[in-house]
Symmetry: D2
Subunit: 328 residues, 4 copies
């Protein structure tokens, strides 16, 4: 029996990727799509390669007039989800790809590769942000294994431009200005810091007070890399192999995480729900460099959202997510 | 029952895309992979996101020592296929993604969207080149419908860099030299001209003597656009709508071709086996501009190869090829 | 003695390039800059690398309150120049980089490499558009030399994204949507057609009625390539070498045009005022493929504008324009 | 009187940029160029936009048969300079853009923006590497001002692809594989670490033992950004404004360094010899994030080389380097 899903914010990048994944999902039936600027259009007008769903009309979002849905994916701008989703019927489960419900009461933070069991019974899931997905994927094994100090972590993160969303069309995201350009932004105050800090504390049981997070905009469409500088307990002598082994055990049996010996490439994850993690340690200097790679629209948004939707609807966790990344 | 497939040239771009598609195919089982530079490695070392096939060892190509295969995909450099494939057992069907067997006796030219019925009974299929795929997809309806003069066609074609293949690593394909660069090449003598000319003649029944074909290298990884300048019979008054309608009828029921009112974008096809075609006519000047877009590794190589393999093995034509294009 | 120049539209791409060139010009002194969105800012806030001009304040454009200027460069959106420039004092010469005054009475069309003498005495110069610059640079020698039929020309032109200007910030020009994308647009009706047609007629003395012009958007910031399909008189037997020789003679002594044996690359012109032209002929088929490359912001906009300003102020034609292109 | 310069390694990216800058230099005359793969060609064949130097023949490098030169720029692969330059006559001053002579006896490390006076009397200058140029530009003021602990510095650096040089044409630098890809490499062992460490120690007078340096390859042609995590003395309460002010004073009167309030963009430096530095401090956590941006071929290679050549030949420091960066 198929599961009826809806997508609000379908014409944005996160919503569009949710559509792509749901369109190819073996048991999801896209029964409803809504979007602001594109309402009234057929899906095919916005997604010329969409296939059999092409005739579906994009609705103007109205939570009081939803058809019966098993799951609703919401991909709305920051600040827009809270009110918009409050009126959704309790019988419709929600995966909020946006940021408004992360670490909010009544919502489960959907870090699907790390705590799938906690998610299965949820009916309201706050999907992790793109930066947190890459960062926490790499950090979780080290934190859970007590290999690093949770209070002394520096995250230098780099994202492709689609992470900024589609809205606005600010010329600072235009091809002419982004191509051949790289810059840091949001220093010491990015909106993704609280969920990273909260998760570090949750997984490690310790304080995340020293967290430093610096995002960068990179001239590419998709992909996130987090390069994370961690400190081990002085004298602990943590080695690269120890980190890799810890991660391999931590993620044993988890279908979407690859622990690699070599530093990961963002392109390895392109179009997929995979996370790649790797580590380089310097035992003399009590240092571990943890690296995490995701597709910011995959595990960083719609991929993890579908994984979460699978978990809360009792589907196989990998349903609709088994595609191999695009290469080159 | 699964169909056993092999891929030779798996570490190139065309072979790698064939692997990606076969890995996700519902009835194909990848039983053999071979490659020159990478032989002896596991697939996972070359394709970090490959999944369950990761432990397969890349073999050194030896046609006399093949396991039993139903279909072999060959993606070898120009000139390398002829001898390499002659020794493949007759019981193994072949789809040659390379160019050596196009319009060669004993081989069927696999223009799958146009003449699927001719392909079904073949055991040796020569897959069309990437430029011909984009060009002929747009031209076939006009030629078959006698809307244009077959002897007076100018193809201005533009390709992404992966079309040049992986081999060699010539610095002229390096990022530093390709980014912000665009140029024509191979003027008046590109290797894809003969198969375009032969197909124009075959579909139209007329002469293709006036064919002009100019390829260009564009700073993008995937994608081909052919912009084609055609002449109608003087006074015929062929309109844009007439071309679109002719193409819609020609491709009615064909699953992979989209006829669009607007000029197509290469990104619409990215990662898919789709072809987009559109037309703009100027009846006063006896002109039709035909436009065709494909992913050069999709319909331009591995996508069409899998479509052909489906046809010759009796699978549904769309098996393994239903994924929606990546966007953005 | 320095020449006082002003730039209106300085925060756009064309105006910004004019600023860059004038800042490095040996005899131009930038005395006035104006812009819409950026008025009130210092130049350094918009151009962090600008150097000694950094403290200049960007003015709100008011033609009735201009300081005394020898030359004004205008780079305004289409339609905005006509009224805006009418009130400029007669004593201030104008080079209009925008399109409003091309082939308008009282304005000289500034095709500087082709008819410099006609420009020297002008006080109102309409700078050619970016596509016309690339197209006419390649065509002029063939037309003047009567090698091709002026009434049967097909221009397939490709531009980088900065050619679309900065304004608006439409998401269709965003990095995420332009990267890996290529498409034709404006078929059979682009605004640059009339000036190309008018110049073809002027140079050849014949009709340009058959002109076909198709622009394409390419994922790069700068650069234009025009690939132009021309017909020679039947039986004329025009050869490649004949075209090259004709062009070499036509441009003998002209400092900014390079006639090359090999097909030109857009990157050859990057950041410069150069035009590269080449030709490939097929005498059997009465065909000449002419190719022209410019930097759309160089010879396609601000570079030619400075060249024109040099001509009308009696400076050496190459002043401020001698920089070698950036590579890679 | 003009200064006769030679360039060995002219067909590489660093050598090519040195050629571009010298070609536009008011007092340098390029009298000799040498290159391995391109010897025997005219410069115009490799640099189609080069201008009046086009007829110069690229020589096969032979240090015993050099013409009389005032300065030789050497841009050779790592390991190739030591022997190659030993035979250069003492009367020819050398600026080695390659890495072999950094912190080698008899050679002056040419950190031109920081210690120009030390360079003026040198006849053998080892030009800083590209990563060190960006890193040390940002760190020097903080180190000299004792604002940060020299022994506890983490450099997360990101470079465009031209930094890898031209040689080889490895497919890992091909457009198809670099576009949409980002990755760390050379973890804990990059060849640029020693010169960074040595300079930190020299400028601060303290130990640089804790230096961590992680380079990343970014899909762009030019540009380097170093994001540097520094620790202040506990309780020192160092603020962002204090860092900016310290840097402004440190670089007062230096022509090529810009201290900016906002995080710098790599594109701000494109094609220029500029360095952009900025800072963000968190006094509560004893943290300073220092940021440095250069064009890896400008200040990171040929730009600084020309600056050094100016210093050692008594030219104005800015001669030939006054061009404004390309934008967009």
């Amino acid at each position: 029996m198929s599961i009826r899903v809806g997508i609000v914010g379908v014409s944005g990048y996160g919503g569009g990727e949710a559509l792509r994944l749901c369109a190819n999902h073996p048991s999801f039936e896209v029964a409803y799509v809504a979007g602001e600027s594109s309402s009234g259009s057929k899906l095919i007008e916005k997604f010329p390669g969409i296939g059999r769903l092409g005739d579906l009309i994009i609705q103007k979002w109205d939570p009081t007039a939803l058809p019966k849905l098993d799951v609703l994916f919401a991909s709305l701008p920051t600040g827009a989800s809270k009110d918009a989703l409050a009126a959704v019927p309790a019988g419709t489960k929600i995966v909020d790809i946006g940021g408004d419900h992360r670490y909010v009461d009544g919502w489960t933070y959907g870090l699907a590769d790390v705590w799938p069991e906690q998610i299965k019974s949820a009916s309201r899931v706050a999907n992790p942000g793109c930066y947190p997905a890459a960062t926490l994927g790499a950090l979780a094994p080290l934190l859970a294994g007590k290999l690093i100090e949770p209070g002394n972590i520096i995250v230098d993160a780099k994202t492709g431009v689609s992470g900024a969303g589609r809205g606005g069309g600010d010329s600072k995201f235009s091809y002419a200005e982004v191509n051949e350009d790289l810059s840091p932004y949001g220093l010491l105050k990015h909106t993704h810091m609280p969920e990273i800090a909260a998760t570090i504390a949750k997984v490690s049981g310790g304080s995340s007070a020293g967290l430093i997070f610096t995002p960068h905009l990179v001239p590419m469409t998709r992909g996130i890399l987090a390069t994370i500088y961690c400190r081990t307990h002085p004298g602990a002598g943590v080695t690269t192999e120890q980190c890799l082994e810890t991660a391999r055990k931590f993620y044993a049996g988890r279908p979407f995480v690859r622990v690699t010996d070599k530093p990961p490439h963002t392109k390895w994850a392109m179009g997929s729900n995979l996370t790649f993690v790797s580590y380089a340690a310097d035992p003399e200097r009590n240092l571990v460099i943890a690296m995490g790679v995701v597709d910011n629209l995959g595990k960083g948004a719609a991929g993890q959202a579908v994984q979460n939707a699978n978990l809360i609807t009792g589907q196989p966790e990998t349903a609709g997510l088994e595609g191999t990344p695009l290469w080159p």
